[in-house]
Symmetry: D2
Subunit: 374 residues, 4 copies
């Protein structure tokens, strides 16, 4: 099978760089188009990221010390200029784009729509369209069926081949899949109290000053608690008459903290079930056994086990567990009863892999499988 | 007024050292007796802590570069040998002891009782006697009246001058005083969900390995969640017929995490009131105005304001706020409604000052004021 | 004695804030004038730093929980507008200024000269004038006599009352005073190899991104090695015919690294003496005994001992020793022979106290003592 | 080719665990024997490391979330009991052993000799035999010819098949190979001043307390400076009449510091050449082109490029560069002239891969290639 040529919008930022790294040996996709701000446009990608390559290792070096991916020699285009991407598409160099744009929310909204209107599907990492009614917010293991609103979205907008899908915020990925696994087995979740301890890479670069992260933590991340409380409701919701209908539950309260960790968001979760309450053993069994469409159909980026259960008293820990399942698994531990609600656990996921670029790539694999990107 | 000579049991450990530092210019007390393990016994204190002085600065140097406290030349006694302390008491060198013992729980229990039985009051930092029915667990601003069980305790045990008082675990100090201020104003608290992010000094020395605290956190601290869920109930309880009766509420659920912070425990708290619910403004007013006996009577270690309110979105932070009120105040911030319960906030206190040595000293000031240590 | 009213230029930045904090109870000086960028001008100082107060504690709170310094209510002026400072001077509110300006080097140079020309002495923390021939670069314990170029500087420029003095870069403060103590005793130092491990506060705020300081260090700080290699030569130099003449030695090689430490620069130093070589014991004696003008004349900010000797194998350490002597002492340890040169040691100083605001204040005390600021 | 069965002594410690991880899919070797302290003996390996598995991920989980290496079910033997290893060898389960023993130096010395005397070759990570005259201290790219002392060693001791080889201390690996590349090209190195900033994993587990590594560094590591100054001389030396003869140069001065980094030792190096001095460009060319036996013969653990040159001003950095070449390459940067000596640079290597287990495995590959382990 010939690889599908893909583009990256915002390719020089932290998440854009992670897309480049993760796609460097992808079996289905190859990066053939990179776009960023006008400041970077016209430079070769290697020059545009020189001195600000934030991902491990060197762009120009593979991890064994050999030469790295050819993306370094691609010329960066201006992401605001959709015509460039269109030309690339027509030249067989850009079937769809991953959006890792970093601009104002309205600007991103308009620009992503312009790409879609021009016939270029947008698999977005940005928050701009998360609450657009006919745009699905996908976690491939949780709500893959939400992708099927795409025909309706196209019809609503009068778009032919283009469309927009988004992924949720990184902060909710450490517990949404475990919650879904329980809901899927028929256990209603009524209320949820979650406290997150989030890595600094979630704030991009330069992001959080080191002055605030040495011998310290910051008990606030702007906008993060609102996202954490609302996004799961869309993901757990259903396709209504032309737009998504949010789930009514669970009611969520979030405390979001920034902690001195480079990658990996940890969440301490307490939850209340409906009338039907699983035992702790049943919860463990459900999580250990959980498999979904990405696993059943062997999507290349899918972890063998989307939820990894750790029985040790002191796990998961971010540095030690964030790379589980290639950074795509959610690791859960400390599963125990809650004196106030019913169940407590700690969940962890890699915020720039599962929570950003890796999650976007898995969504693109899902859309390829479903035929929307061919 | 002549200073009261005091002893420190476990004087060479991390909390013991903090007692030495905090008492170095105390207006009521002077350290005149130090005891530790047999390994240290017989050495001058300065020699016993050489190479393992963990508190800021040097034992032998005052912070302005001059010579430090004379405690360095005291000879360390064996803490297991109560007769030494008794001799010191009779020689006017040890009116009472601060216990910062680090041994097995049963050993501490027995040893603290032996001191009390010998007529030497014990103001303890250890957890051993926290659940002994007639031993008060004191936070000077919250339950100073609990000290008045001492005559009964003496009677129960047939002790003459000795007695034992304890202080609670460091993990609960970042929210117990704020909760009490609300209860005191007539607001019942029914349920509480708390997630702590605790400093490494809480584990003593060597304590938590750095391998586990670089780019990492550990979502577990042995025994800490149980203490966090139970101790407030004794503190909020009442003196019954010969022993304390726990408060029935609030029901508490705790997630306790170790984070890479040297000093300062942070707690994210969500709580549910009874039928009567204060507004957010009322909560802020209550906390800003809260004063208790230590403030009214100007105890030397008492902070002017036991609860410091921060209005900035991103405070309290451990490195920046732990020293507020000389390390004795609780700083609260992020006061806001809770979608699941009623109220949310973040609380912070210094775990080795307010949560350990400083809290013990304030308890001793309370007991002096009440006449139990004269 | 009535306190001298002083101004702070760049009062809202990290070093400016440190000046405010350190001057809050100074016996000779009181902050009566604050100036910053046009963006802050017109606001009360408390409002101008709201949400970006980086120094420990709160501007509005003293460390015991009481109300803080009155500087919060001062209206911030535009630092570019010298006429404002002049009006303040004439109104008895600004006898001289501390410059903690953060702008382009040429802009600072011109602005500091404008203040001096207007008759307002400038005690600067900025690097702009360090290599101006008739501007002294002062460490009060090392080259206090360099202040005596001021009459010549005034004459050169045609200035009446104004003048400019600067202090050296923070990176050299951890070893320059110890070197001077040896030179003062007659030991020539020919060559010096120094590797620094510098705290992030040296880069201001936001400064170094936390992404670069978690589980990491950066082996480069722009311009720092050049400063470290050249500035000691001016400080050790002499006043020539109208300008300073650099010392010819030592020849210095510097490796400057940024490490995940909040405050406190550490330096590993190897040095080669001239023909006359002291023993290790003689070095220790010289450093322990070293006292200079600030100590002899009891300047309020002077540490009792400018060099504190630690004999433990593993000291100095930044978190534990940076506050020695109120942050104004240099702590040295690991004094031992060098297999390649003659002597090795590790030095440490607090980069925003001794290395910035505290050093500036001590310089102002020196200038007051010498009569230049009365 | 059938894989050679190997044993690991000290298999449950930090370095032992790293051997297990790195050998999990080695093309030549398979772990078939594990030995540790009597405390662990008799348990399956998975049980012996339960709750103290310090390497990333889980012993029982591969990184893609599937099941991990079968070594978990091996029964741990007592490392003191050589007869167990002998039985394993005779049963085809232990052709040679990697020694990652953690005991007293004399005990290790004797025990490693007992294995060798019993006919089991020992590829050691321990320091015990580094200064034994007829034991080679190998870096496979630097002195592979030193392995050829093995026949002499066997003859000296009367050993038949067994022998001992060691590897040097982790602290010197960040600069020894670059130095060698220069020496190999004919440039004498006379003197060397090196300051290291070493990761905490070098101290094993629990190792350095987090109290000492938060907002701090420690300017001392016991014994490390001596090793750093002496070991390169044996490695650069020659085989004499029955024992190694140390090189006379370079003269080395080392400052060794512990910094808050999990893995990766950084070294700031200044060096003086002999009469013949290469240009900076020549140094860069030599390092970029350097290849040695492991590269020429494609040893499985050999990095494609043993020295990776970074041109960015701020590299190498430990978190970002330690995994270069699979953790087996040395990354160098900041190559520039030295005002005191001739050349300065910063080198970095992964202390538990290149500096410990990975270096040991590469040595075993070298010995296999040379026929000593068949």
């Amino acid at each position: 099978m010939e690889k599908i040529p893909v583009g990256i919008l915002g390719a020089t930022g932290m998440v854009g760089q992670k897309y480049v790294r993760l796609l460097s040996d992808h079996p289905w996709f190859r990066v053939a188009y990179v776009a960023a701000s006008p400041r970077s446009a016209g430079k070769p990608y290697s020059g545009a990221v020189a001195g600000r390559w934030h991902v491990d290792g060197s762009l120009n070096l593979s991890t064994d010390g050999g030469w790295g991916p050819g993306v370094g020699s691609l010329i960066v285009e201006d992401a605001n200029d959709v015509s460039k991407a269109l030309a690339a598409r027509n030249g067989g160099r850009c079937s769809f784009v991953f959006s890792a744009l970093e601009m104002g929310k309205e600007d991103i909204k308009n620009l992503e729509e312009a790409y879609a209107a021009a016939g270029i599907p947008v698999v977005s990492n940005a928050s701009a369209h998360r609450w657009t009614g006919d745009v699905p917010m996908l976690i491939a293991e949780v709500n893959p069926h939400h992708a099927d609103i795409i025909p309706l979205q196209r019809k609503n907008r009068g778009w032919d081949k283009g469309f927009i899908v988004v992924k949720p915020n990184c902060s909710i990925q450490s517990y949404t899949t475990p919650l879904w696994a329980l809901i899927w087995e028929g256990y209603e979740i009524k209320r949820l109290s979650v406290t997150t301890m989030q890595a600094v890479s979630g704030a991009g670069y330069p992001g959080v000053p080191s002055w605030d992260m040495i011998d310290n933590l910051v008990p606030y991340i702007g906008g993060e608690e609102e996202k954490s409380e609302q996004e799961p409701l869309k993901i757990f919701g259903s396709i209504g008459d032309g737009a998504f209908i949010n789930a009514a539950e669970p009611k969520i309260s979030a405390h979001c903290n920034r902690v001195p960790v480079s990658d990996g968001h940890t969440a301490c979760v307490s939850l209340e079930f409906g009338a039907k309450k699983p035992s702790i053993d049943e919860v463990k069994r459900i999580w250990a056994d959980f498999r979904a469409l990405p696993q059943e159909e062997n999507f290349p980026t899918a972890p063998l086990r989307p939820i990894i259960l750790r029985e040790e008293a002191d796990r998961p820990q971010p540095r030690k567990d964030r790379d589980a399942g290639g950074g795509m698994a959610v690791t859960v531990g400390r599963i125990r009863p809650c004196p106030v609600f019913d169940l407590r656990f700690t969940g962890l996921s890699h915020n720039t892999v599962r929570g950003a670029a890796g999650g976007g790539i898995l969504n693109a694999e899902l859309l390829t499988y479903k035929g929307y990107l061919s």
